[in-house]
């Protein structure tokens, strides 16, 4: 069975990118918006990455800058306080006023406390062994100077100026020179550390630049790829539609040409007087009748498809008895099946409640399914129509399932997703010269959905296919409303 269709040309492409095109084809089916959404997500992720990287680089630069400023300030304060310690001590030499001398001594001691704190801070923050050793040496030299400073201060306060000067020259100056050298060494080490930090910052900045360029390039490529993919997807869609339309025109032409040829030939024979006896004329009349009906049916299918294209609901959905559906399906397909020598087995559960739908629509849908089964049903010549409620029990069935099963050629799993597309015909049915428009299943699906139902298929290649129409059972109030409407309609007629 199977509506197989899609002309082989539909899937064949003129571009040497079959895998990419298959992917794009799939994408185009779900809308290019998905692709755009993915690109936007990609750009957003990339943007977040860029921002994060820039922030990290800025934080690193800020840290280095802050560290440099703080380090320079610390060294400057250390040098100033060391000088202040010595300066205040020497100021005490310039006066004989004990009160001023005490004040200078106090200033010297305040400054030396700050120097001690600065050295301790430097020692705590020292990282390299060289810095640690320098911090300890600076502390040692500073304590040596302070011991001399204390002696000098004591001598000054005692009034022994000469002794104070001698002490300072002998011990204070060299001790303070050691301190000064240590502070210069601190400055030198800090300079080297700052140079390293600057080099690291430059390297980090360069890395950030490379990353930024890389990310922007990636974003550009991604965007370009997305645009290319969208354009290609749209082009493929248009090509596919054009191919489908060409196939449709070819199929319709073929379907029309066959009965037309028969009609013309019969008409020629009649016009030329080749047919003279009554029996032969009756036979030709029957042929003309049959072929014209076939053409009318084909035109009806096309018109029906065109009318359902806008998806507007053209059916009146109301409770329909199941037995009417079965009777209508049998009646509308009897001629077709008997003509083709196909037997229709009907298995229906008893006492099924009415379903919601339009009898004409349901009949048309089943007619298409049965016609499809007759066309692709193979040599078994048997179609099974099964009507049952859903679920294992009948306590609270939700829907009615009307299945049309054949034992024909079946449908390949890769084609299942296409068989409800308009104009789609499988390359296999093309190959075996089974003609059709590719509209039957598409129409059946649209009709089912227009009535609130759905159409499903289960198929296995070379085993057969089963199409199932799912319709909802009518509820109590819907049945009552339908009964009231019917009564009112009869009353108005009488």
């Amino acid at each position: 069975m199977s509506k197989a269709p899609k002309p082989a040309t539909t899937r064949r492409t003129q571009y040497p990118l079959p895998v990419v095109d298959r992917l794009l084809n799939s994408l185009s089916r779900h809308n290019a918006a998905l692709l755009l959404f993915m690109v936007c997500c990609g750009v957003a992720v990339v943007g977040a990455f860029v921002i994060r990287d820039l922030r990290a680089a800025n934080a690193e630069a800020q840290e280095i800058y802050t560290g440099s400023v703080h380090g320079l300030q610390r060294i400057g304060e250390l040098q100033y306080d060391a000088q202040e310690t010595r300066r205040a001590t020497l100021y005490a030499l310039t006066t004989t006023d004990s009160n001023l001398q005490v004040e200078y001594a106090d200033q010297s001691r305040d400054a030396d406390h700050r120097v001690k704190e600065g050295i301790a801070e430097y020692r705590n923050q020292a990282k390299s062994s060289e810095e640690i050793a320098l911090a300890e040496r600076l502390n040692r030299d500073w304590m040596s100077y302070l011991s001399v400073r204390d002696e000098v201060l004591a001598s000054i306060l005692e009034g022994s100026i000469q002794e104070a000067v001698n002490l300072d020259l002998a011990g204070g100056v060299p001790a303070f020179e050691h301190v000064r050298q240590d502070l210069n060494e601190v400055k030198r080490l800090y300079g080297e550390d700052a140079s390293r930090r600057e080099a690291n910052l430059n390297a980090s900045s360069q890395r950030s630049s490379y990353k930024l360029v890389g990310i922007l390039s990636f974003t550009f490529l991604l965007s370009s790829g997305a645009v290319w993919a969208i354009q290609r997807s749209q082009m493929l869609s248009r090509m596919q539609l054009a191919n489908l339309q060409m196939d449709f025109v070819a199929s319709v032409s073929h379907e029309l040409r066959t009965p037309l040829a028969v009609i013309r030939s019969a008409a020629d024979n009649l016009a030329d007087g080749v047919i003279r006896d009554r029996d032969a004329m009756r036979k030709y009349g029957a042929i003309l009748q049959h072929q014209s009906r076939s053409m009318a049916d084909l035109v009806d299918q096309i018109l029906l498809f065109a009318s359902t294209e806008d998806r507007n609901n053209r059916y009146v959905v109301k409770p329909v008895p199941v037995n009417q559906i079965i009777e209508s399906a049998i009646a509308t397909t009897e001629a077709l099946l008997s003509g083709a020598g196909i037997r229709l087995d009907v298995h229906a559960d008893p006492d099924l409640p009415p379903v919601m739908g339009d009898l004409g629509g349901i009949s048309q849908c089943l007619q298409n399914l049965i016609g499809n089964a007759a066309k692709y049903g193979g040599d078994d010549r048997l179609i099974t129509l099964r009507v049952a409620a859903s679920g294992s029990g009948h306590s609270s069935p939700e829907e009615l399932r009307i299945s049309v099963a054949d034992r024909g050629i079946g449908i390949d799993s890769s084609e299942i997703q296409f068989i409800f597309d308009p104009f789609y015909r499988s390359p296999r049915v093309h190959a075996v010269q089974i003609h059709g428009t590719g509209l039957g299943l598409s129409l059946a699906k649209r009709i089912a959905e227009s009535m609130g139902g759905r159409l499903t298929v289960v198929s296995q290649l070379s085993i057969g296919s089963t199409f199932t129409l799912h319709l909802k059972f009518a509820k109590g109030e819907e049945i009552e409303e339908a009964a009231v409407d019917t009564r009112q309609s009869r009353l108005s007629q009488t």
Binding site: S98, N99, V102, A105, D106, D150, L153, A154, L157, E158, G159
Partner: protein, 173 residues
């Protein structure tokens, strides 16, 4: 400072009585507090006799037992602490003390004249900075940067401690 003051609770009691509103002026004047003798904390000396104290403050002793030169620190003339020291330790008035030092310096018996500091804080800082310094201050001006000497083995909180200075009523109020 607080810890040291806790050692002399009676001083606090006296000070407290001074600031009680309605206290008579005669009662306030009669209130005294110990005048403590302080040296540098590195000084090994802990006790002096009354006679040794007098010799030091008259400039008749120039070195400590460890060889450090003695540097005498005094308050400015007119201060209650100085007047107490002159009266109770030196047994002189200002003029007599001045003449004594001039004579001693002239004869070479006294090597250095006393250093004059304007405030108890100055005295305390001077003593803190100079290992051989000795000075005096009110008990209330004492802190841990200097060491208190006992006189004739009597500490300021002991009964019978002789060096006492009138409380500074105006300052307290």
């Amino acid at each position: 400072m607080t810890a040291l003051l806790m050692a002399w609770p009676h001083v606090e009691a006296v000070r407290a009585s001074i600031i009680v509103p309605g206290l008579f002026a005669s009662e306030q004047v009669s209130a005294t507090e110990p005048l403590v003798i302080v040296v540098n904390r590195s000084n090994p000396v802990n006790d002096l006799s009354w006679a040794e104290l007098r010799k030091i403050f008259l400039g008749n002793r120039s070195h400590w037992s460890n060889g450090r030169r003695i540097t005498l620190v005094m308050r400015e003339p007119g201060e209650a602490e100085r007047m107490t020291m002159l009266r109770d330790v030196c047994g002189m008035n200002e003029d007599q003390l001045k003449n004594h030092y001039l004579h001693g310096l002239y004869t070479g018996e006294i090597l250095v004249s006393p250093k004059i500091l304007a405030s108890p804080t100055g005295v305390r800082k001077f003593v803190f900075n100079v290992p051989g310094a000795i000075g005096y201050m009110r008990l209330g001006d004492l802190d841990s940067t200097v060491k208190v000497l006992s006189i004739d083995e009597l500490l300021p909180e002991d009964k019978g401690y002789r060096l006492r200075v009138p409380l500074e009523v105006a300052n307290v109020n």
